[in-house]
């Protein structure tokens, strides 16, 4: 049995997504910009997917811009908004725990003369909305803050952050990277008072290579990819119809029963916590402030990479910290004040609706076994 517990890195495309993708490649293969029927069929395919995504976020179909993935969405949001607002100011504010696609893009902007302010977490590892508002000054044009952290599952209070920021300076744009929250937490785009939101297909059972940026009506971005003027000129390039269709189908398949899935994740994470509650070797990074579908834990004295490969031999797949960080030190763990030794021992376990309690039990005994057999590698204590 394959036990795939790395659903925050990527997910296995669902049957609905695969079918929609194949259908779009074999039947609606036209260029959506073509004037004839074959083109129109492809355009309708995109319209349908937009409706499905709009229904999940309660946004308007015209607010969806498809991208190659959340990394591009984050690039478009940050650079596109910073450039569009350049006459109003040149300061952007981000949280210290953003995904590299926000962090590195902000660094690139800093090299172009923008000022980047980073908001640090409080002593307990959570973020206060006020700290974002405090970071906003008269030169600030954009605040970017993720909804759920990809490494620890930390839930950031984006609604409060957006409200606090806008109360201080109403014309500041607020962007949120909602990749780890989309279709897991109930998101109502219009009531969040954010202007830009990034989502990804492959985290929600669609293929890799498709994502979207939700752009609130009236918000102007400078395009980062220019060309034939597709998608109202915001993102040129012939739309990848099969990917878009798959994205829409995957979203439609999951947009209901959020609370039932959440209850399932809560039961799974509780089972995991309870299993190690008496075991001093296992400590949890995740807390009450974290979402239940991402569990971050460390096994004392066993490097996560070693444990990861040990589990892999048993057909169990987890991640060490963040999959994007491969081997590098995690800036998230640094920001949260986790010492590097412990950070090196951190595993990320992330669930899907298909994850069962039996899988959790197998994982638990495998970790215990690993902790016993790999214990001789301990260098501390």
């Amino acid at each position: 049995m394959e036990i795939y517990l790395d659903n925050s890195a990527t997910t296995k495309p669902c049957a609905e997504a695969v079918d929609a993708c194949v259908n779009a490649m074999t039947k609606t293969y036209g260029n959506p910009s073509s004037l004839h029927d074959v083109g129109f069929a492809a355009e309708k395919c995109i319209k349908e997917a937009k409706k499905q995504i709009a229904a999940a976020l309660k946004c308007d179909v015209s607010e969806i811009v498809f991208t190659s993935g959340a990394t591009e969405s984050n690039n478009l949001a940050l650079v596109g908004a910073a450039q569009a607002k350049i006459r109003r100011g040149k300061t952007i504010v981000i949280s210290a725990v953003e995904h590299p696609s926000v962090l590195e893009t902000a660094h690139a902007l800093a090299q172009q003369g923008f000022t980047v302010k980073t908001v640090q977490p409080q002593a307990d590892g959570t973020f206060s909305a006020q700290s974002f508002a405090d970071a906003v000054d008269s030169d600030t044009t954009l605040v970017s803050c993720m909804m759920v952290n990809n490494e620890t599952g930390l839930l950031l209070p984006i609604a409060e952050i957006a409200a606090a920021v806008k109360a201080k300076k109403p014309d500041v744009l607020v962007h949120t990277d909602a990749v780890q929250a989309f279709l897991k937490l109930p998101i109502r785009f219009p009531v969040l008072s954010v202007d830009l939101m990034s989502i990804s297909g492959h985290k929600v059972y669609a293929p890799k290579g498709i994502g979207a940026l939700i752009v609130k009506k009236g918000v102007r971005l400078i395009p980062q990819i220019t060309g034939g003027g597709q998608q109202n000129g915001v993102r040129s390039g012939t739309e990848p119809v099969p990917m878009i269709a798959a994205f829409g189908a995957a979203v439609a398949a999951q947009r209901t029963k959020l609370s039932a899935r959440m209850a399932h994740y809560e039961a799974l994470s509780k089972r995991l916590y309870d299993a190690f509650s008496q075991n001093e070797a296992v400590s949890f990074r995740s807390s009450d402030a974290c979402v239940p579908y991402i569990v971050s834990l460390s096994v004392f004295g066993v490097r996560s990479e070693t444990m990861l490969h040990f589990l892999e031999q048993k057909g169990i797949y987890v991640s060490s910290g963040s999959a994007c960080a491969k081997g590098a030190h995690s800036h998230v763990m640094d920001a949260l004040g986790v010492d590097r030794m412990t950070a090196d021992e951190t595993l990320r376990i992330s669930f899907s609706p298909d994850t069962t309690e039996e899988m959790i039990d197998i994982l638990v005994s495998a970790i215990l076994e690993g902790e016993q057999t790999l214990a001789k590698q301990r260098v501390r204590g």
């Binding site: 004037l35 029927d37 129109f40 355009e43 309708k44 409706k51 309660k58 308007d60 015209s62 109930p186 109502r188 029963k257 609370s259 039932a260």
Partner: protein, 392 residues
Amino acid sequence: MNEAILLKTGEIALKGLNRGSFEDILVKNIRWRLKPFGAFDIQRAQSTITVRPKSDDIDLDEVCDAMGKVFGIAAYSRALVTEKDLGTILKDAVSYLKDDLSGIRTFKVEAKRSDKSFPYKSPEISREVGAALLSAYPHLRVDVHNPQMTVIVEIRDFAAYIHGAQREGAGGMPVSSSGQALLLVSGGIDSPVAGYMMARRGLKISAIHFVSPPYTSARALDKVETLLQTLTDYTGNITFYCVPFTKLQEAIRDHCPEELFTIIMRRLMMEIAVRVARAHDLPALITGESLGQVASQTILSLAATNAASDRPVFRPLIGMDKKDIVAIARKINTFETSILPYEDCCTVFTPKRPKTRPTLRYVEESQALFDFEPLLAEAVEHIEEKVIRLEW
């Protein structure tokens, strides 16, 4: 959390003896709108309809959004259903109203006690709840004359209700309570707004549209269907008649004076609409015409078009400015679709210098230059009919 949605009926509360039948229609419409969300318990009392979900997993935010689009509901609010115990009521009022009260400064409390066995009288309940809210939220003060929010606490037979902030409903009269009518829809900004406004007066809407391929494209038709789809949010399902109009337009071009192309085209559209209305028992037509907006909407042009109809033509936009129409189009979310740039049947063969003051006699004589009847009959025979359904 046990919550209910309270719907205030507006104008229909003023109806006399037939108020009951208006309410029946409204409740039927509400039930239909609620169906996809799950099972609900619906009760009527005075001018309030109480909707209570029968299970916990129903998203009341979505239900509220849907109820905000049902005509005949003047205002609506959510309410917490709680125990009939003053201590519990005070505690629950403080927590339940937190968000509603955070953005305002003045409030008052109104208590209604329909269960007279409850040991506290209404003024006492108001005083206690007011005091509890004031001590929990010190930024508030009481203003009994002009409060920003009125907190309502109701003691009913089986439970106490604490009402949240009241929101404005869609207003108007329940769809179908005034009968049915046929909307002539082009794909522009105005006709969907006209349909919305007449549905708000209680009409159930059917729609008719004219296509002229290859002069008009499949995208133009899709645009109209998308517009109607958007309208179904308010109107419910719409029966849609699509009329093949190419031959008639070509005949006008070939046989009539150019300056009258548009007027005669509109008269023929009206003629076909009347036949459809007659066949389907629709006693009135609706258009998005606004006086003076274009050459075909001058007083004499309207008179010439009007003469082609044997039944009332409702023109709710007749006295409105374009910017007011656009404001409504934005509100009902049709604007973005309306401005998509596709050729529609009204823009095919537009005259260079259209007649702005045509006399009816001149128009009728010009139209008589060609026998349109066989083509009219053929067009009516080939009408495609479908139902545009509200999507969930």
